[in-house]
Symmetry: D2
Subunit: 279 residues, 4 copies
């Protein structure tokens, strides 16, 4: 018996749940878990269905295509195939370390194919876990030249997702398009507060009483991509900007790990610069 996840994202219409579940039944598939959401503003229907049984993917998808409205997208994902990621880093270890720990000792079921850094600072950490590390220095290169080298380094690993785990460089549209809706960043603020550089210094200067972190897909506008998950920590007047950054690191790593888990579980839909994240 196989386990698959069917993701449906289509214009809303009457009877969609019945249609999709009927097709599952016709194929003698058992629905283990089902979630739907209708966005009434965008008139869009989202459904995530965990299915067990003997699959004939081709005829199942053909049946769906016959019945779903124009403008639908659907995919059938093998739930037992481990996904593969490449992680990009600069110098900070905390987000990377959390993913390394969880993928090795339990918590996130993912294959880290490689880690790529624009410095060699974290090579030592990554090699502890027997994972390839590539230093692709940006020094002396234009942004485009550097990115081409990073893209080249990533390509052989054919990752499902590319994770920016405190990768402190701005990406060009070319890079972003190459991994459209598969590029996840952790931003060290509660977006949209403190867009841009040095958010903890900005937070300190503004005298906020709460700091946060945001995991989001990257699109062409810096820090403007669809938000996957966010969390916060309470702070007070006694925190210096450095202490804010330190307090923020625990939030960052837990937010990024949580977002990664949600994406790996195929629980996240993206549309209209928003996400639907099923539980």
């Amino acid at each position: 018996m196989e386990k698959k996840t069917l993701l449906t994202n289509c214009p809303d219409a009457k009877g969609l749940i019945a249609q999709i579940t009927n097709i599952c039944q016709k194929h003698q598939l058992n629905i283990v878990k089902n979630n739907e959401f209708v966005d009434h503003q965008y008139n869009r229907f989202f459904m995530r269905t965990e299915i067990e049984g003997i699959f004939n993917d081709h005829t199942l998808l053909a049946d769906l295509d016959l019945n779903l409205p124009t403008g639908s997208s659907r995919s059938l994902i093998n739930s037992t195939t481990r996904k593969r990621i490449v992680i990009l880093v600069t110098k900070e270890a905390h987000c990377l370390g959390d993913i390394l720990m969880k993928s090795t000792y339990g918590g996130i079921d993912v294959e880290i194919a490689a880690v790529i850094g624009n410095y060699d600072t974290l090579e030592d950490l990554v090699t502890k876990f027997n994972i390839p590390y590539h230093t692709v220095s940006h020094e002396g290169l234009t942004r485009e030249e550097h990115e081409d080298k990073v893209l080249e380094a990533i390509a052989p690993y054919t990752p499902d997702y590319v994770i920016l785990a405190k990768y402190m460089r701005i990406l060009t549209p070319k890079f972003v398009e190459a991994y459209s809706n598969r590029l996840i960043n952790i931003h060290h603020s509660f977006l949209p507060a403190f867009i841009g550089a040095k958010p903890y210094q900005q937070a300190f200067d503004r005298g906020v009483k709460i700091i946060g972190a945001t995991a989001h897909f990257v699109n062409n506008d810096l820090d403007e991509g669809p938000i996957i998950t966010q969390d916060v920590a309470h702070i007070d007047h006694a925190y210096s900007a450095e202490e804010l950054a330190k307090a923020g690191r625990d939030v960052e790593k837990s937010v990024l790990s949580r977002a990664l888990q949600q994406v790996l579980d195929d629980k996240v839909f993206v549309y209209a610069n928003r996400t639907v994240v099923f539980k």
Copy 2:
């Protein structure tokens, strides 16, 4: 066009979603929102379906009864009918006040049919809102005698739910059975911590760093009923037992109001001393 909510609670079986949604479609009803949950431990299926259309309740329910497995329960609730509650209180105003404010000025759509107190302390507050207040003193009465009088006072209002908004008296099984799964209490601790009397003093004595509140259905075992919702507040060593109680009041009132809203929205299923609470 009418709006109704269909609640289905039955043994799990293959094809339930398809069956129920097909019946809706056959009756030309439109599903606006749908949630399901399968408890694989108890092998139980829960579904909440918001439906729009022209209803023939009798034939719809008959169709469902024909198709659902033995041991199913289902109900069809008119979403636009305002529900009616009676609130029981003792002397503390905060939970009562929050519900009064929200039902009058927006936030909770409910009819407060009456408030009954074993003291007259809160009569002044309740009459400000033009709601009947009955003082049913327990003095000089046995627990059973007092409860009979309270039950008598409640009866004419035929409430959908009875809310214990800091009602500081223990109820007998007779009372609990009279409003089985319709009796909601706010307990001033993060259950199951600090069961019983004076939870804030207990919390102080134990030196906890977080306090909480729990809204739950009442069953025969004190503080052991199915939990609807809980929340917490962070505290520190500098809080006295009285300050804990004060900090706790804001948690209590928001937890009770939230649970009440969830119950009024027909989002809460009860089974096996647990709840399923749909979003």
Copy 3:
């Protein structure tokens, strides 16, 4: 025996704690509670001292003035004198209602001298609590003309603080200066995110996963004043802009009430567009 609170806000210097506590001892005063904070970036010292004893305010303050560095400010506040506030509102009842409930039935020890609204919507609520309500309509008036009338309405009550409990009008510098560091606003977002109008619509459009509220002193730049306290609520994709606003109301009221309590307890210092808030 009297109870007073001494607030000291001065340039940092060696031995300040010893100097101030020695002066208290010399005057045979007992320190019940003491908090200090040194902002090393601004080189500024803050101390809040709860004192019991027989006070000669004049000689105590003279002793302090003799010993504190140039540029110091200090004040001695009678802890047992109830403070007086005027509340400004527009149409929303939740923040106002929470303060009314708490000042009447316990939770915040304050005298609400009057409530002033630019509509009469909330008159009914306020008069339930036997508190004067003034409608000062802005219709047909310039901003300046309207504000002059509001200032006139406030003046006879000589409030310690003016609370903007969802008062939906922008204030001029004249108004702000009149109640400098005594004017507290609740902003319905997690500042500095979503500055300006319709923050919940902005939050919805941005697809955030957490919403918040901010209580802050008002200065001349809209939504830029010193933050007193903030809190958040987790939300998800299923919330419409209206549901965000509803979920936000509970956060708003608890944040404003908490900030008000902190200010009434003389626990908040303001400097450099920041606050120090002692526990």
Copy 4:
């Protein structure tokens, strides 16, 4: 110039702050940060003072002893000396991994002298970080025999604190006394809820909506020691007992790391089965 932290824990009395700060001044020491707390129930005074200057520890402490009331304890700790810990583990990696990561890559400034496990499961992880790992199997040994071996293994490292990072064995009073107030445990529940074994299964059975974790000093009564810090995570009906455990791990590791940091910063006082934890 040296940096030290003075911890004072004594019966409350008039003028204590003045006395201690005067002594600092007499010794020409500069107070960088100061916190006090008076527990009025236990009539106990706590003060933590960060001091800079040229120290003569002997005369400073002698001066303090001369002036503090009978029953006082005080200690002067070199803030720049790195503390040393030994970590005890069983099979779970998450708490250990977080401390390893933070001590190596930033976040917690501590020397992990050794890790001791009753299985060899985590040897591989620990040796990645070039830290000695000792397997001290309990198999075939009485509790006392096993503990003697563990104590023997710890002794040569003379740790300041012993950290139980998911060490799943109950300790005897002998062990606890050997490291009195220096033995820190992470309990995988929001104590005092779910004392004892399998708290996540207990939480599942009770149907709670929030789970938590508690870091506490260990005393002779299992799970009854002074609480240092606690935190929680919101969960819902859809979590199985295993998913509760998984969700709990992130809370456990952040709570233990936070408690460890507070203890290493000499911010935690213990008395009367309670803690005072300064910010």
